[in-house]
Symmetry: C2
Subunit: 251 residues, 2 copies
C-alpha cells in the first residue's frame, strides 16, 4: 500500500504544471518600511521559472495598485511583472462594471487608482479593502450609513482575511472590518479575492492550467489552502508569514 | 374569544408592578452636544413614579460613568438617581472581580473611572464598550494583539448593539467592533448588558419584581424587546430613537 501511495504521489508530482504563489508572508513580510524578502524566496521564484513550470502570483494585497506593488517586489530582486499577478481590485472592477455598481470606497489611499475608470457618483454599493490607517471611526460610520441607507445593501469585500503579519507585528485585516459592517447592516458581503472559488479559477485560467495540475502555496490555512482545495487544487502551507504552530499559537 | 382576550389583557395590566425603561432613544436622543430629551418623556417618568409602579432604568450606555450620565439626564429635567440605573460597567466589574480577570479596556475615556478599583496590570482579558472616537485603527490592533496572545482569549463586551442614533445621525455601536475582534481571534465574546438574561434578572432583582409582573420599554427590537421576552417579561418597542418602520428602513 505504501508503495502504491508512493507511485501515486510521484505520478501526481509529474502531472503538476503550474504553481500559484501567495506573496505576503510567502515571498516577503510586509511592513511600514516597505517590508523585507523572506530568506530564499527571490531565488525560489527564479528556480521555479527556470524549471519550466507555469507560475502566477495570487494575492489578496489591496494596500497598493498592482503597478506599485510589483515595483516594490522587483526592487527586492523578485522576477515578477504586473501581468503575472491576480489581485482583488481588478477583479472587483470587472464585477462593478458588469452589474452597473457605483462604489463608495473604504480602501487604502494607494489602491484608489485601480478604480480610476469606475463611476463613483451617488454610490449604490460599498467596496471594502485593507484600508489600514483609513479604518477610522469616522470612515467606518460613513460606510455604515451609506450601506444601511441602501434599498438593497451591497457590500463587496476585497478578501476576508482575519489578520496578517507586518514587520512590527500582527494587524487586523479587512475581514474583521467586513464582519463589523455585515453585523451592523445585517448583510452578507460578497468576497472578491481568496478564498473565493471564482478568484482561483480566474488565476488558473490566466495561467492556462486545470486545477488538478496546479498547486497553491500560501501561509493562510483558510484563504490559501482551504480556498484552493475547494477549487480542486492541491495546496501547501509555508511556515513563514502568519503561520504559527499549535504550540506558538498562544505564546 | 375576543372578550376572553380582553379580560386576560386587563388582568395582566393589573398585575404589572414594575417598569424597566431604556434611556437612549426612549428618554432622549444622544449626541455630541449632550443630546436632547424626547418630547413627553420627562413628564412620563414623573407620572410613572407618581402612579406607584416600581421603575428602574436599564441601559447599555457605556460612554460615561453612571454618575456623569445621570447628572446629564437630571439637567434635562428627568427624575432619576444613580441608584435607579442598571448599566453594563458595574456588572462587568463584578464579573472581573469574581473571576480574577485583569482587563485591557477598549472603552470611552469617560467610562474608565467605573473600573478604578480593578487591577489592570498584565491583562488577561479585553473589555470592549462603545469606545466611539477611541475605536481607532491603532487601538483595535492593540486589543486584537493582546487577545490573540492570550492562552485562552477572554473578550467581554458591554452590550452587543449594532448601531444607535445620535443627533447627527446613526453610529456603529460596540457590537460591530465586538464582531470584528471575535472574527479575528476566533473567540466568542461574553456579553454583559442587554440582551443578556443575567442583566435583566439583576435589574428585576434590584427592583424586587418578578419577570411576569414587569414590562421592558425600549427602542431596540433585539436588545430591549427580544432580551426581555427571553427573560419572561413583556416588552414594548417605542417608535423613537433608532426605531424605523419597514417602510422607512431603507429610505
Amino acid at each position: 500500500a505504501a508503495e502504491a501511495g508512493g507511485r501515486e504521489m510521484a505520478a501526481w508530482a509529474r502531472a503538476v504544471r503550474g504553481l500559484l504563489l501567495d506573496i505576503s508572508g510567502v515571498l516577503y513580510d510586509s511592513g511600514g518600511d516597505g517590508g523585507v524578502p523572506i530568506a530564499g524566496s527571490v531565488d525560489a521564484v527564479r528556480r521555479i521559472k527556470a524549471s519550466g513550470l507555469k507560475l502566477r502570483f495570487c494575492t489578496n494585497e489591496t494596500q497598493a495598485t498592482r503597478e506599485k506593488f510589483v515595483k516594490k517586489l522587483q526592487g527586492m530582486g523578485f522576477d515578477i511583472s504586473v501581468a503575472e499577478v491576480t489581485a482583488p481590485a481588478p477583479a472587483a472592477c470587472r464585477i462593478l462594471k458588469e452589474r452597473s455598481l457605483r462604489p463608495h470606497l473604504l480602501v487604502h489611499n494607494d489602491l484608489v487608482p485601480e478604480f480610476a475608470e469606475i463611476d463613483k457618483a451617488n454610490p449604490n454599493c460599498v467596496v471594502i479593502g485593507d484600508a489600514a490607517e483609513n479604518f477610522t471611526y469616522a470612515n467606518l460610520n460613513e460606510a455604515f450609513r451609506l450601506l444601511i441607507g441602501m434599498e438593497k445593501p451591497v457590500l463587496i469585500s476585497l478578501g476576508r482575511g482575519r489578520y496578517y503579519k507586518e514587520t512590527d507585528g500582527l494587524k487586523l485585516d479587512v475581514g474583521a472590518y467586513m464582519k463589523a459592517l455585515e453585523y451592523a447592516c445585517d448583510v452578507q458581503a460578497e468576497v472578491v479575492g481568496k478564498p473565493a472559488k471564482m478568484f482561483f479559477e480566474s488565476a488558473l485560467a490566466e495561467m492556462g492550467v486545470p486545477p488538478q495540475q496546479a498547486i497553491m502555496i500560501g501561509d493562510d490555512i483558510e484563504n490559501d489552502v482551504g480556498g484552493a482545495q475547494r477549487c480542486g487544487m492541491r495546496a501547501l502551507q509555508v511556515r513563514t508569514g502568519k503561520y504559527r504552530s499549535v504550540h506558538s499559537l498562544h505564546p
